[in-house]
Chain length 353, copies 2
Amino acid sequence: MNEKLQWLRNKMNSLNLQGMIISNPINIKYLTNIEAEGTLLITRKENIYITDARYIEHVHSTLTLYDEIIVYDIKDVSSDDYENFFMFCENVGFEENFVTYAKYKEYIRKYKINNLVETENIIEKQRMIKDEEELENIKKACAITDECFKYLLGYIKAGMTEKQIADEIEEYYKERTEGIAFETIVASGENTSKPHAVPTERKIQDEDIITIDMGCRVNGYCSDMTRTIFVGKVPEEVKPIYDLVLKNQLQVLKEYKEGAIVRQITKMVENDFKLNGNHSLIHSLGHGIGLEVHEQPYISSKGENILRENMVVTNEPGIYISGKFGVRIEDTVQITKFGCIKLTNSEKNYTII
Amino acid sequence: MNEKLQWLRNKMNSLNLQGMIISNPINIKYLTNIEAEGTLLITRKENIYITDARYIEHVHSTLTLYDEIIVYDIKDVSSDDYENFFMFCENVGFEENFVTYAKYKEYIRKYKINNLVETENIIEKQRMIKDEEELENIKKACAITDECFKYLLGYIKAGMTEKQIADEIEEYYKERTEGIAFETIVASGENTSKPHAVPTERKIQDEDIITIDMGCRVNGYCSDMTRTIFVGKVPEEVKPIYDLVLKNQLQVLKEYKEGAIVRQITKMVENDFKLNGNHSLIHSLGHGIGLEVHEQPYISSKGENILRENMVVTNEPGIYISGKFGVRIEDTVQITKFGCIKLTNSEKNYTII
């Protein structure tokens, strides 16, 4: 059986679950590599994937014998079949953070389950720790993001619009990967003061500050990087803010390692921002990244998470001066036993185009 | 109070609901025009929208006094506030088809609700009937879709790839609307035999058949149209299939009216397909369209829906000959008392480029 399904079976065993219904397509992709619409059932003896005619062929071409997954066309599953799947199961797990209340009631009715049990994101928590193949995909996505950024430094010229640059990034990614991992942010001038700015028709001007937040997807896995760059020169008023953000971003890289407590690291940045000009960190310091751009662990001053080897997380402090400008610098980073490995490696010192 | 909220209050009254929690952002957009992350509460006396700092300013700029909605920043809402919102409510409704099981339990705990009641898509059902403003938006989206199709007839040339054409459609829409309403389908040659084909690098050839399924969004409202066109000439083997699909598409337009039973209309098409060459209708005949591309009513041989005045639905019969070619012809249509109004009006007879 494939290793991820074997892991899940062991985990279910330890939680006294004899069966589980997995409905979240991202968790199904993680466990089986299947990308389709359907439901994965882990029963006492079998792994079953129920889908419909549109996907049967594609699903079969994805799976190998080694996966040990039986594929059903939903139109061939009788109500007796549904009742038999979990017949001798005392407790059956489900994804309470994904399944709607209506579906929850349908599962109980259809599968005749006595105890449908919440599983508290067991799969999402396992997804935090990346295996070699997953790391390989993220590394590729990060490398292409670095290349794209290098290309942009030659491409961006005064007179271009933010949208035009965002479209070029999308095009660059489309030709080399599965495309953008999230809506690219290209913000210039005052627009950089909004952390979630949407690219506009504003034209890049001389002495502009530009924030670019970009990432792509390789085999489903994401990259995420932000750089703040300058046209012609670095405005004097921006320098102290840029230096403060960069100083903290570099300090966080030193703190990121197995065992580090995310709350403490975030507090450190918040305190340093307060101390040096009374600035606030208005978004989280980072987040896990993998099959989703934003996934566990979330790195904020509220989180109880502890970093573990082979988690992949972002490190993205930012300061935003309302109506004036903003600076954010972000890397995607792999946690190791004694430190961390930066997976995005674009220049972070003042970059002038 | 705005009319849609007033409608909801009347509806709640008739269902003996003293309060309701609305979480589905599309339903919130429908009722209030708000596009943000947050929750709408209908309490005995007030309409309350709870959001966070990122959206407060934007939400205030969307609402008018006439809406009678009080906006809260979630960080200012105390646990006492939550308990007070539905204090004297016997039954509080929620969206069981949107809210996860985990959220359902959180609502009960946080709001201290005695009876959290399923509401069986009351808002989705009301959304089926479009008011004048909604119709206006859909009509605009359809008109721009017709214009785009006309533009394409001059644009498409042998040698271009499917992707290139899909990108051009996206660009066309981007410049004039909020962009595509769904991933555009451009399928050529054999690829037309897959109803959900994704645009590929395949180049358009002489004597190709091309299926284009496209739509855009105006103020959130969607259009949806499919045409099957030809390069140079109509292949002899395609003609009888094209004629059969078109004949049925035109017949359905005659059947679409207030009071029509969707099951019967679909059966009519299925029977005619069977009778003339033993073809099957492998997807539904149509679907409602509005803030979502696919919404109620679904038009299939399983549905119990009856068409009503000012529903907007698609009419999209198609036949797919595996490994060879496929033909689909689709319009977006407004139902009226004694018939229907086609909102997309592009040519449907053999169109040769």
